[in-house]
């Protein structure tokens, strides 16, 4: 039982209170623009957007899973597998590329469904089921590609281009996926069911929510989003690589958690995740601009992530 006072906060403060990560992002961006004159350049900000895209899309998918109280470690591998399948079908089998994209997305979806089946029906802990998928998807990517990167057909790799001077396709895809995530979470039956399952699975079940079916949808979405991220990644590089996106699962989860979600479930928002992914991208971009030594970069990234979230928790404690 909480002992919060039911005091109405002014809307702006309330909104900020719910978007603590945003404050951290603003502070970080302000600091970087003071330290480096290149940071605020439009081209650089677009770069940040492009660089955030893959993590953000993976993280949107992970948001669904984390809201249900689960975890998905396989998103990076599934992205790589989907990208390899796309490049392979579009080149080796000579299928028209839109069909190849559909097949790649279907592969991501299928991986998600397998995760879901193991979790919902096999009662495997999500950590184990998706860790297994992390290995399996990565292995299949290696097997299909025989370990070598596959060049993407010219047509598909336009997905990584910039339309005109200021409209990078990856950024558009990221924003689109973000809006889709927000709509699913806030407006659809499944979205609300995810919150219910994460908050109290037993209550959700006893209220007639088909928990297993909703988990199926949840992990399937995560797989589908991973596939989209894989397509974007491969398009940017004009090449699908079996080792792509290795380790991105931790980044994706970190983005979600920085964005205010809780790994114990029931909490999380698309916008928070977006901000979390931006924080990570801005941080990496800034360290490059500031020419921080490679060995120190990991230290700085660690410290800044901790500070960003600390800022949020301290602020939240101060307002409570």
């Amino acid at each position: 039982m909480s002992t919060n006072v039911l005091r109405r906060k002014p809307p702006a403060a309330a909104w900020l209170g719910e978007n603590g990560a945003l404050v951290a992002l603003v502070v970080l961006a302000a600091a970087l623009s003071l330290l480096s004159s290149d940071f605020l350049a439009v081209t650089n900000l677009l770069n940040v957007g492009v660089q955030a895209a893959v993590t953000a899309i993976l993280a949107f998918g992970a948001t669904f899973v984390i809201i249900t109280g689960g975890i998905d470690l396989s998103v990076g591998s599934v992205a790589a597998l989907s990208a390899i399948v796309l490049a392979w079908t579009a080149t080796d089998t000579g299928l028209p590329w839109p069909l190849a994209v559909v097949i790649a997305l279907a592969v991501g979806l299928a991986c998600g469904l397998v995760n879901a089946a193991l979790i919902a029906y096999g009662k495997l802990p999500p950590f184990i089921a998706t860790l297994a998928m992390l290995g399996v998807a990565r292995g299949l990517a290696l097997v299909i590609s025989q370990g070598s990167p596959i060049a993407m057909p010219e047509t598909v790799s336009h997905l990584g281009d910039t339309i005109g001077d200021y409209l990078p396709v990856p950024v558009i895809v990221m924003l689109l996926m973000g809006v889709i995530t927000a709509v699913i979470l806030n407006r659809t039956y499944s979205g609300r069911a995810m919150y219910a399952i994460g908050g109290n699975e037993e209550a959700a079940r006893l209220s007639g929510i088909n928990v297993n079916r909703q988990k199926l949808i949840t992990y399937a979405l995560a797989g589908l989003f991973a596939a989209v991220a894989g397509v974007v990644l491969a398009s940017r590089l004009a090449s699908a690589q079996p080792q792509a996106a290795a380790g991105y699962e931790l980044d994706a989860i970190a983005a979600v958690v920085i964005g205010g979600a809780s790994l114990s479930g029931g909490k999380g928002r698309a916008f928070g995740t977006f901000v979390g992914a931006l924080i990570l991208a801005v941080l990496r971009n800034g360290l490059n601009l500031l020419s921080v030594s490679a060995f120190w970069q990991q230290v700085v990234i660690g410290v800044v992530i901790a500070l960003a979230v600390l800022l949020d928790t301290l602020r939240r404690r101060a307002t409570n």
């Binding site: 990517a141 990167p149 792509a244 020419s291 120190w296």
Partner: protein
């Protein structure tokens, strides 16, 4: 803490800014490469910025983009992957910034210069040297790098091609040990169980070779011949100690040095050769002294 940003006052470079994206600094080989580049930059008075792509092609693209927005005069790229580096180089091209590729080629885009030693050729050399040491007969185990990385692919391919020339040598096991010393130790230990008759080992880098040496104990370098790759300081020490029979030294410092020289020339708009081949050398007990000094 800008330990990797080397700058100096001496003449040639003026205040030229050069960015360099290294595929990974988690491997002594690339640390050496960076050192060569930094030393040369200092000598030339170039401001060199080095970033670590952590073996992640997309992070590397990000870094090259970031260099472009920092208005670097030239960019040195040590591709994580040859194909994936294409778009990054194209982006730099658009901003009219010359790019020098080092250690690995860039596919799908033109660079001003490629400074490389050939991994496939190195793999072949390794096969020849190992065969020679084994008396052209026996059983060989191969320790592979991270599956799917270009270094593992090229070295493995070179070795496989090279070893075909020796009908009395059989490759009995090939297992991944991820370029990691610990895994090299564990995998070699396990392979010895199932293949006790192995008399030769090829490791796709020196780190795994050093792990294998640990696993082989007293047999290392004696009954069982081991050939590594890279010629890292630890690898050279093992050669001196007689536990490692040979390594394919790629002179990473020289690669770094040449790359900076090429980038500087390109930045000034001077003409540069399209390829600079830095020799790969077989290091054995006989010639290890030449390398240990550098």
């Amino acid at each position: 803490g800008s330990g990797s940003s080397a700058g100096g006052s001496s003449a040639a470079g003026g205040d030229v800014k050069i960015g360099m994206s290294v595929s990974t600094l988690n491997n002594p080989y690339f640390v050496q490469l960076r050192k060569g580049a930094e030393d040369e930059a200092k000598k030339q008075g170039v401001a060199l910025t080095v970033t670590d792509a952590q073996n992640d092609a997309s992070q590397q693209v990000n870094q090259v983009q970031n260099f472009a927005s920092q208005s670097m005069k030239a960019i040195i790229i040590n591709p994580v992957d040859s194909d994936a580096a294409g778009p990054a180089v194209k982006a730099a091209e658009r901003s009219k910034i010359p790019v020098v590729a080092v250690d690995r080629v860039v596919n799908g885009a033109t660079v001003a210069q490629t400074v490389a030693s050939d991994n496939v050729a190195g793999g072949k050399l390794a096969a020849q040297e190992l065969a020679k040491q084994m008396g052209e007969k026996g059983k060989v185990a191969v320790l592979q790098g991270v599956p799917g990385t270009s270094a593992s692919r090229d070295r493995g391919q070179g070795f496989t091609e090279g070893i075909k020339a020796y009908p009395n040598i059989q490759v009995v096991a090939q297992q991944p040990a991820d370029f990691d010393r610990t895994k090299g130790l564990d995998v070699m230990t396990n392979l010895l169980q199932s293949n006790p008759g192995v008399t030769g080992v090829f490791a796709e880098n020196d780190e795994m070779a050093l792990g294998a040496i640990k696993a082989l104990g007293a047999k290392a370098g004696k009954e069982i011949k081991i050939v590594g790759f890279d010629g890292t300081p630890d690898g050279l020490k093992a050669i001196q100690a007689g536990t490692l029979n040979a390594s394919i030294a790629q002179q990473p410092q020289l690669l770094g040095q040449q790359a900076v020289q090429g980038a500087l020339k390109a930045a000034k708009g001077e003409k540069v050769e399209t390829t600079v081949a830095v020799p790969v050398k077989v290091v054995t007990t006989g010639n290890v002294a030449e390398f240990a000094g550098s």
